[in-house]
Structure formats: C-alpha cells, structure tokens
Symmetry: C2
Subunit: 404 residues, 2 copies
C-alpha cells in the first residue's frame, strides 16, 4: 500500500464518509427504547386540550370573588378524567382535583389549604388574600399547539422522549433497524474461555469485550466467532459472515506478522480497503473497508487494549451515525495531570475519573504496561484521547473522554 | 402522620438503610454483561505465564550478540500459540511472532525492521545498534501473579471487566439477580396510548418512561400495569403485585387529593411507611415503604416530571445498592447560570449540557412551565440537584447531575 498513514481524525472522517444509513422500521413504542427516531413526532392536539386545574381545591368564577364573595356553595366534584361539569350558579363552586378540566364558567382555582368546608360550603380562611383570575389554571394550548414538532428525526429515544411519544399516542414509531453484528476473533494461540489453557495460549477475551460494549449501547443482535490463522478457514468463514451480517468486527490478524492474513483475505473477498494503519497508539494496525454491498468491516488490532479502544473510538460512533443520529457530542473531561507527547500520534490513555470539588471530574491516567496488562484497567472508567499535532497537554485541559 | 417532612438527603439515607441485597446467582459470562459481580475474580495463573515476545522479529541469546555476532542462522519459526522450541546452537536464532513464548535459551527479541534475511540468515542492519538483554520481552508474571484479586466483589461488569473475567477462564460467574419490577400507573384520567383521548383525558406516559429508564440501566424484567382510582381495584391489584414482584414503582395517587388512595391502601396491605413527603420540588408527595417481606414500594407523584426525577434520584440508586454495588459516585456538572433559592427545598432542574472549551461541560437550565410541559424536556440531557440548605448557587458551581 503506497498511501501514507492517516491521522485518527482522518480515519474517523473517512469512516463517516462511507456510512450507509441502516434501514428504518416501525415498532411498538415499548420496543423503541434507546433506538434512533426516524420520523417527526407531532403534537396530536393542543396541550392542555382545555383549561385545567394545577392544584386540588375549589374552582370558582373570579367575578364572584371580585364581588366580595368569600363562601361558595359546593355544587359537586370535578374530578380529573371526567367531562367538565358547569356551574349552575355563578356564586357557587366545584371541588376540583389536580389535572381536572375547569367546569364551565369557572376560571380560577383556590388551593385546598386556603379554605375550610362547613355545611356544604367552602369558606376562605383569609378573606383579604387576593385571588387572581386564572390562578392555578394551566391554560388550553399553553404547552404546545397541535402539529408542533415535539421530537425531531435523528434523536435517541431516551425515557423522556419515550414519554413524549406515549403522551401524543404514538403507539407505533419508526426507528432505525438494529444491525446484525458479527464479532470475529482470530489467533491460533487463543482458546475458548471454558477450556484449559497451556502456557503458550491465552483465552478469547476480546470478542466478549466487544460484544459487551455493543450490548451496553443497545445492540443485542451480536454473535461471536473465532477463526484460526489459516487462509482457507478465514476465506470460508468471512465469505459466509459477510453475507449473513450487516457489520463485521474482527480482532487480530492485521499487523505485518507472518500469520496476519486478515487484510489479504478481505481483499480477496472484494472488501475494498478504505485505510490500513492509523497514526495512533494503541491501535496503529487498524484496517477498515467496505464489502461490495457497502457493509463496513472493522479489522481491529488484536491487542486487548487496542481492540477496546478502536471499538469505542470508531465502531460505536459509526453505528450511531448509521442509525441516523444527527447530533452526537463526545463527552469531555479535564486531565488531572499534564502530558507531553511527540505530537506524531493520537494517544489513547485509560483513565480513572476522580472528583474534585472545584473542578468537578478529572481524569487520572491509569498506567498499564503497554500492550499486555489489561488487568490494570479493571478500575479505569474509560479512556481519553490526546490528539495528534499537540505536544503539551496541560493539567486541567479538556479532552475527549470515552466511557467503558 | 405526625412526622415532620424530611430532606432529600434524609430520604436517600432512609431508603439505603432499608436495602435488602438481591440474591446472587451464577450465570454464563455472556449473560453477565452489565451485572454486579458478587464474587472475587482471581488470576488463574501468573501472567504472562512465561516470557513472551512483544514484537515480530527474531529471538536470540543476548550472549551471542555480546560476543560480537551480527548474523544468526534461522533455526525455525516460533509462532504464537505453539509450544516453545529451543535453540540448538546459542549462535543462531528463531523467527518469532508477537505473543509467542521465547524459545529456550533465547532472552531478547530484535524487531523485524532491524534485520534482513539472506540465505537463511538474519543479518542486523546496523551492527553498532545496542541490543539489550530482555528487550521486547514481556517477562513471566510481570502483569500479575496467580491468585491476585483482579476484580473485587461489588463492581459493575463493564466490557473491560468482562474481558478480564474471560481471560482468566471465568466461563460462569456470580452476579446479582435482576429484580422483577412492576411499574404501576394510577389515575382515571389516563387512557392507553393506542386509544382515542377525550379533552379531559391524557395518555399513560409515565409507566413507559419508568420502564425505559429501567431498561436503559439493564433491568429488563419490567412489567407495566394501570390501576383505576378505585379502592377495591387498587387493593386487589396491589395485593397480587406485592406477591409477584420484587420491587414496586407506583406513579400517582399519593397527594392529598380526594382520590389519592395509594398510601391508605398500601398501609392496609401491611406495607410499612418509611416516609411520606420530601422537602423537594418537584416530587414532594413521594411515599416510600416496605412490604412485610421487606420489598421496596416506591409510590411516586404522578406529575410526569416528578415521576422521572424520583425514578433517577431514588429508585435507580436503590437498585444499584441492592445489587451490591460498593462504590457509586454520582456524576457532577458545573452550572452555566447562577440560581437563587429559599434553601428550604431541594430543587431538581432539567438541564441541557453545553460544551465550553475552557470549563468543559456546563449545564443550562431548561425552562418548563412547572408541572405540565414535559414536552419542553425533549432536548434536555438530564437534571441537576440543587441541595436544600443553600441559598445561592453560583455559575460554575459543581452540582449532582442525573443523565436521562
């Protein structure tokens, strides 16, 4: 490959440039939690649809109070969820519950603490206290008008937005389909986690980590595979997986080692390489390409930290964009310690968040011995990105933060 | 009830004081993602189990280089995942791949970039370059020793910890059981979301929001119910739900209104009240109690914002503690604007996070018309807590932040 190595920012841009949006489908609202909305959600009516009480109390006509009345005969109870009644006599009142529509001719609500009921009459405790017209009334159309766009296409359906969709009767809703994702480990030195392991072997942990990260972000159609460092097996397995899955995530086999066949086999299978190698540490041998059907293939370095970092830094953002998310601002955090770099590579460092009363959260570097010791990451909260092109990172500087 | 109203901090403490830990069970690792670990995960062996190469290259005996040798006959290939070979002649070498164990008698690795292969010999490019003993070797036991505690009981199994558990062969793992949770809406004015709605009716959005919040935090055994404001029906339904579920979350029916029967019926059903009413806005009528079997019953105010706030502020933290989480630090954020309060109540405000280059994330208040207009929360990211007992909150002050 003659191309010179690209930066992490360029890699991200090149990945985003290749995004093909996942198709949308209509699902029941309760199946849409955490999904990405692919239509506008409109108000189905003015809200509130009519004047409502915001307190428990009595509803009166303000004109009666203005005329000097301080006792009101109770004509009945206006309950939430019942059709509005109407005053027979302008000088009387209705008891009313929070959320109930105002009875006809009533235009204000006096809270329950401010009167006593004696012999069927509500008597104000303080005759001098001012009662304002429309007090404790939530006016018709005050929150929004019919057909107002309440939710825009491209937002993630968090619990608040789910409630809004429910409130306007969106029992079915259009969201992005979740992709079927294959997570494929490679490496002859790796055995399954329930098997005995020889000194020259290790267990397959990467695919578990990637699957867990995907699950945590709402992608549950994830299957794990392991393929040996054998060209024939790689070719056969990948050929099938490219057909059956929407997104492929490989781990291992992308360095320049003697048994790193992944790029070669992917190219044989007509996966077009978009880039190979990124100016970053860890994760330099990261390879990215697209199948003939434009499905993304992320071939991540097999080093355990590299696999995790690349999953969070590239794969999850791809999935968000492909799901139609319009706005995504990466979380940021202040560095607890300064850092000096050659500026040639983007560096990803595991960090632990600590809280300081003045500055808020700060990120402390968690040291780990390069590639190997992922066990040191047990207490890390995620990693920060120290961008290429900058030499000195001061303590307190805000940097991008990716939470495990 | 003679008790005086408690603060939000006291409510939290009283809730935590009542926590009964959920039972634990053993599950397959892939079913443990996001769960709370209830055992220690120990190293099953020293790691690395033996000296390993950290680069692709050749493995030699340093003594040979020290004697002046700069060409090494290649005896073979030491591949990762294969039992270690051994030098026949101290002056020769093995090709070696990253992660492979060092062949016997070898003690350093020269990277592939630093030699050329000619006629079966690896010839160093730079005869003067120093080769250090044990260079590019990941020493046996360097990361950790057998039986070291790699994961402590009480941590959440995020993707990094899942990978650690996989790496030490923990194919099955003990985690907290997820509770069965009933989310129960009340209110005769509420109709199902797929039904036509009259002007004096609204749709049942609260239970959807609570269910979505629970799902988002990994609780999937959640069922929604709706009960009418009718004592007989409430009694019957709650009696059954108390038996069938581990946690009950009610929404509505806890104010002092004429049809707010929830506390009365719960007490009839021998649910012991721990508190009713908290000095907070919104959410003052929040009621909390325990069944005879010590199951928690959260009876939240029915106002849509109150229900959501109390779910995040009290229910989710309860579930974390009951799952055995040992450390949980609530996220914090800086206020974008100052705020003045009487200091009598803890105030919860919806906020949108904005990013400033100097300060990082700041929280901007999202205005909504008191109880009603939850549609205004569509673009909020969560809410902040402005604690009781403080009058002035400066801009830039760090406060607790709960993310939707």
């Amino acid at each position: 490959m003659a191309q010179s190595m690209i930066t992490a920012a360029e890699a991200e841009r090149m990945i985003f440039d290749q995004v093909q949006e996942f198709p949308m489908h209509e699902v029941l609202l309760e199946q849409a939690f955490g999904g990405v909305l692919r239509e506008e959600v409109l108000a189905d009516r003015d809200y509130p649809p009519a004047d409502r009480a915001t307190m428990d109390g009595i509803a009166i006509s303000h004109s009666a109070w203005k005329k000097g009345l301080r006792k009101f005969l109770i004509e009945g109870m206006q309950q939430a969820g019942k059709a509005p009644l109407g005053l027979k006599d302008l000088h009387s009142c209705f008891e009313i519950t929070t959320g109930a529509l105002l009875p006809d001719l009533c235009d204000c609500v006096i809270p329950v603490e401010e009167f006593e009921i004696t012999e069927g009459q509500a008597v104000l405790k303080n005759f001098d206290q001012e009662i304002k017209p429309r007090q404790n009334v939530h006016g018709a159309g005050n929150d929004y008008k019919k057909n107002k766009v309440l939710l825009k296409s491209g937002v993630v359906l968090n619990p608040v937005r789910i409630a809004i969709a429910a409130a306007v009767g969106q029992a079915k809703i259009k969201v992005s389909q979740k992709p079927k994702i294959a997570v494929i480990g490679t490496g002859d030195e790796l055995v399954e986690i329930d098997q005995k392991v020889k000194p020259y072997q290790a267990r397959r942990s990467n695919a578990y980590a990637v699957q867990a990260a995907l699950n945590r972000h709402g992608y549950f159609q994830v299957e794990r595979f392991h393929v040996r460092d054998d060209k024939t097996q790689l070719r056969q397995s990948l050929k099938r997986l490219i057909k059956d899955f929407d997104v492929l995530i490989l781990s291992g086999g992308v360095s320049m080692g003697k048994f790193d066949f992944v790029p070669e086999i992917l190219i044989e299978l007509k996966v077009r390489v978009v880039f190979h190698k990124v100016k970053q540490r860890p994760g330099m041998p990261f390879w990215f390409g697209l199948t003939e059907q434009q499905k993304p293939v992320f071939a991540l370095p097999g080093n355990p930290v590299s696999t995790k970092v690349c999953t969070y830094r590239y794969v999850l953002p791809y999935l968000l964009v492909a799901s139609g998310v319009k706005q995504h601002v990466q979380e940021q955090v202040a560095l607890a310690d300064a850092y000096e770099s050659t500026g040639e590579l983007t560096c990803f460092f595991p960090v632990r968040l600590e809280f300081s009363r003045d500055v808020g959260s700060v990120a402390k570097f968690v040291s780990y011995s390069g590639s190997g010791n992922y066990a040191a990451l047990a207490d890390s909260d995620g990693f920060v990105e120290l961008g290429q092109g900058q030499n000195v990172f001061e303590n307190g500087q805000q940097v991008k933060f990716y939470r495990w």
